[in-house]
């Protein structure tokens, strides 16, 4: 009996030693090159009547980048009352240097995406999407928009990137959410 147990334990040891030779797990895979994370949603707002009046606001995911360089996790835009603004929605990967541009990939897959805007009731702001995808019939995308401000007021603008593979119908309901962030907008 003793003999068997000794042989057995020896075999176990032998097997483990043999197996410990190849250790794939010690090489922890580096970040996948060429892949981009969506870390940041930005708004580039240009006054329709004054091309030099340009503002940027960025919302950055603090679980992916613990201290965003511009520290803007409560982004604010200051707009003038009763004005029109041309808006570009920017999607970025700030885990890399230089900053990665995710907007291009979303533009490429525009037939699967829709950007939805919801202004809080205190905010007198109308958002009109100005771009169209290549679906038949063409549907709005929302990467470029027109903001029309009303009377003065402050509120939140919720911006959502909806992912709608094969189910895009022009409304926000289908699909799932890829980005869902809030911007504070002050209309003066």
């Amino acid at each position: 009996m003793k003999k068997i147990l000794t042989t057995a334990s020896l075999l176990v040891v032998l097997a483990t030693i043999m197996n410990s030779c190849k250790k794939d797990e010690t090489a922890v895979a580096p970040p996948v090159p060429g892949n981009e994370f969506l870390t940041t949603v930005g708004l580039k707002v240009t006054n329709a009547n004054n091309a030099s009046d340009v503002q940027y606001a960025y919302w950055t995911d603090t679980t992916l980048i613990s201290n965003p360089p511009d520290s803007i996790n409560t982004p604010v835009l200051n707009l003038q009352a009763n004005q029109k603004y041309n808006v570009e929605v920017l999607f970025q990967d700030r885990t890399t240097n230089p900053i990665g541009d995710v907007t291009a990939e979303i533009k490429e897959r525009q037939n699967y995406h829709l950007i939805c805007f919801t202004a809080s009731p205190s905010l007198n702001l109308t958002v009109t999407r100005t771009d169209k995808d290549t679906n038949v019939p063409a549907l709005e995308v929302g990467l470029t928009d027109l903001f029309t401000t009303g009377a003065a007021g402050t509120g939140q603008l919720n911006v959502q990137l909806r992912h709608q593979p094969n189910v895009k119908d022009g409304t926000c309901a289908p699909g799932s959410t890829d980005a869902d962030v809030n911007f504070t907008i002050r209309i003066k």
Binding site: A15, T16, A27, A29, R109, T177, A179
Partner: protein, 771 residues
């Protein structure tokens, strides 16, 4: 919803019409199997050719009832080795006593002395034989066990299901596939066991703390899948064909086996393969888009045996691609609430076999080499080596943000785990009513995680265990007890995202487990068993280190690297009465688990770019799981049986004085089965009607789930079958209709209940030809 109600009367009418003529099926066979010293052969399988099967009790007694007149062959086997066989004509109740074949040189090499140790026989176990497994062919492993009281499934849509034993699942249920611990990715509720159920000739489910024999993790129980014994005939085979209306599922599985003769005497072989395909499954009112399955499996065995020893090699490969229902994709919690508020998913409802993103693709390969040696003193030693490799790739619904085609085609999450195990066991011969099993086992695993999203780290672990189980059998008593020591070492490898250097963390766990049990065979019909045992489980790497969003669950999970091992104390008592007309089985259990690991809702949200998620933090508590499994089978008439089963489990968190989340609701299963007389070539025909009621789960802790548990529901299932005997090649045929009334329902244990109903009506035709 109930437009198919007309089916019920039509089918009932068919049943009545077809039982009008014929002879009675009420003959009994019983007897004792005793060895040459008149010692009972315990737990020998007694099987009628293409008919029912049973096991001998501690007195060596067996009983098979409700048989029709005819020619039969009866086989007795121990541990898959045939020890006796007889062909006879049945036209009255008969007694057949058996003595195992003499140990001889004619290659029936197994020396059976009635001492074969069935370890942990005092724990409550349920066996599914070939015949019962035929009724579940085409289902996944989890689904095929659902009819056993005390067993449920946790599901992620129609394709992915995992067995739940007494309220526990995943890492707490150990699956032994052909004697080998199944080691894949088991920690998530969407990680189904990577096993083709067609490989099993029988399954045993041990409910209770079985760590003593099978090692750590077996806190809830063990599922043993045993392939049929290799045969001594030249060539035999089997073909299974299954078709189901729901999902337009088709499965074909075949096997060929045989043995060499003359100078190849002693060689045995088998090849087996399965193909399974299903498209979009349908609920009562709509299709579940992208819920298809594409599975391809094969296995092969070679063996060589002489009088004293045997050498076997086994290889199996499992590959599946499973679509994840489109309507279940939620970006964040608001999406989930919106999906739940809808009465019907807004994804298109149509049938297709195509599997789009998102899907999971899993490959599992197993190589097993084993050998045994029978000593002259009737002792038996066995050595088993196994290598498993499991690759799981998960593809999200959205493509990665990249223009590089290599990145676009890569899975978002990929795990590759390789496991090597080595087990040595020695079964002592019986001496003065004592017999024992001793063993040592070793395991090592390496897990490589690749992916775009971080989920769990790479790791390496080593484990070893040593155990001894001693059993005392005398007259009406069986007593058993054992001790086991386990050691486990785990090292995780992680990369610092800023410095890009790899750093490691090491954990060690060791534990002593023990169990004692007794069975008292009061009469040949009535036995009472009690078992008290401990079990343990080391925290899984996901529980220690997970950080991220769990797919399809809209929750952000955070692991805790300081978690301790779980330890449980399990007490169970079971009664079994196996009489002429009445069969009753009751099993009461109490499982006290200290340091039970669970994901606790932390009541705060985390805001990511994709929205706000509830945070679940892994933590530990002392919990109690208590319950009862009951089964009553009463033959009102020789041909008419009423079968009632009930399973009740209560999970309670003793640390925070609250219920445990995701516990199975109470389940009551009643059926009527009518055996029809043989008619020409049609034998063993039956019709059966089953009503399964699942109550609403009302015992849930607050704030632990997004929505309230769904209401209770009742499902009506119909089934009929026959064995067609043509030219000695039996053809088993069965037609089942599940969810006959096409009820729209949602099950508490199905994670997709947030998004869609469960499956609607399903017609299933199963056939099996043995040649």
């Amino acid at each position: 919803m109930t437009q198919k109600n007309w089916l019920v009367p039509v089918i009932l009418l068919l049943c009545v019409a077809s039982q009008a003529s014929g002879q009675a099926c009420n003959y009994d066979i019983s007897g004792y199997i005793k060895d040459h010293q008149q010692k009972p052969v315990i737990h020998a399988a007694v099987r009628i050719s293409n008919g029912p099967a049973t096991y001998t009790d501690t007195a060596g007694y067996y009983h098979l009832g409700g048989l029709c007149a005819g020619n039969y062959t009866i086989n007795c086997s121990v541990d898959s080795f045939m020890i006796a066989q007889k062909t006879f004509v049945l036209n009255s109740n008969i007694t057949l006593n058996f003595t195992p074949f003499e140990p001889s040189t004619d290659l029936k090499e197994v020396v059976v002395s009635g001492t074969r140790v069935h370890e942990l026989s005092t724990l409550h176990a349920v066996e599914l034989d070939n015949k019962q497994l035929f009724q579940t062919t085409g289902r996944s492993l989890g689904e095929s066990l659902k009819n056993i009281p005390g067993i449920n499934t946790i599901q992620t849509g129609p394709g992915i299901s995992k067995p739940v034993i007494h309220g526990l699942h995943s890492n707490r249920v150990l699956i032994l596939n052909n004697g080998i611990r199944q080691e894949g990715q088991q920690w998530g509720s969407e990680h189904a066991p990577e096993i083709d159920p067609f490989i099993a000739g029988s399954m045993t489910i041990i409910e209770g703390a079985a760590s003593l024999r099978y090692g750590s993790d077996a806190i809830a129980g063990v599922i043993l899948l045993n392939p049929p014994a290799l045969i001594d005939e030249r060539l035999k085979g089997e073909v299974n064909l299954v078709g189901a209306s729901n999902g337009r599922m088709g499965a074909v599985s075949g096997l060929l086996n045989g043995a060499g003769d003359k100078k190849w005497e002693g060689f045995q072989w088998r090849v087996q393969g399965t193909l399974k395909r299903a498209g979009n499954f349908k609920t009562a009112n709509y299709y579940l888009n992208n819920s298809g399955i594409d599975e391809r499996d094969f296995s092969g065995t070679m063996g060589y045996h002489r009088e004293h020893f045997g050498l076997y090699g086994y290889y199996s490969s499992y590959h599946t691609k499973m679509g994840i229902f489109d309507g279940s994709h939620v970006g964040n919690l608001n999406d989930l609430y919106a999906a739940f508020a809808r009465t019907k998913p807004i994804t298109p409802s149509y049938f297709s076999y195509k599997i789009n993103r998102s899907y999971q693709e899993v490959t599992h390969d197993l190589l097993k080499l084993n050998s045994y040696y029978n000593f002259n003193n009737n002792g038996r030693a066995e050595i088993v080596f196994a290598r498993q490799s499991d690759l799981r790739n998960e593809y999200d619904v959205d493509l990665p943000y990249s223009s590089d085609p290599a990145v676009l085609n890569a899975p978002q999450v990929s795990f590759k785990i390789k496991t090597h195990t080595l087990d040595l066991t020695y079964h002592t011969p019986e001496r003065n009513h004592f017999s024992g099993t001793y063993g040592v086992s070793g395991i090592t695993q390496g897990n490589v995680f690749r992916g775009i999203r971080y989920l769990v780290p790479n790791f390496r672990n080593y484990g070893s265990g040593v155990f001894a189980i001693e059993k005392y059998t005398r007259n009406k008593w069986t007593l058993e007890g054992g001790l086991r020591y386990d050691y486990r070492w785990l090292k995780v490898y992680r990369r610092n995202d800023n410095s890009l250097t790899v750093y490691t963390q090491t954990h060690t766990y060791n534990n002593l487990t023990a169990a004692v049990g007794a069975t008292w065979q009061a009469t040949p019909e009535l036995s009472i068993s009690g078992n008290s045992g401990t079990a343990w489980r080391a925290p899984s790497v996901s529980e220690l280190y997970i950080r991220g969003i769990h797919l399809s669950a809209a929750s952000y999970e955070i692991g805790d690297s300081t978690l301790q091992a779980e330890r449980s104390i399990n007490n169970s008592i079971s009664f079994k009465y196996n009489g002429q007309k009445l069969f009753v089985q009751l099993n009461f259990y109490d499982n006290e688990i200290n340091n039970y690991i669970y994901a606790k809702p932390s009541l705060t949200g985390i805001t990511l770019v994709s929205g706000t998620y509830p945070v679940f933090q892994y933590t530990q508590a002392n919990v109690r799981l208590r319950g009862l499994d009951a089964e009553v089978n009463y033959h009102v008439l020789p041909a008419l049986a009423i079968i009632s089963k009930a399973a009740i489990v209560r999970g309670y968190n003793k640390s925070i004085h609250d219920y445990l989340v995701f516990m199975p609701a109470d389940k009551f299963d009643n059926s009527v089965k009518f055996g029809l007389p043989d008619h020409g070539h049609f034998k063993q025909s039956y019709v059966s009607l089953q009503y399964v009621y699942t109550a609403k789960q009302t015992r849930v802790p607050p704030n632990s789930d997004y929505v309230a548990p769904p209401p209770g529901y009742g499902l009506l299932n119909y089934s009929m079958g026959t064995d067609l005997h043509l030219h000695n090649n039996p053809l088993n045929i069965s037609l089942s209709i599940e969810n006959l009334t096409n009820v729209a329902y949602r099950d508490y244990l199905n994670r997709f209940r947030y998004y869609a109903d469960d499956l609607g009506i399903n017609f299933i035709l199963r056939t099996k030809l043995t040649f």
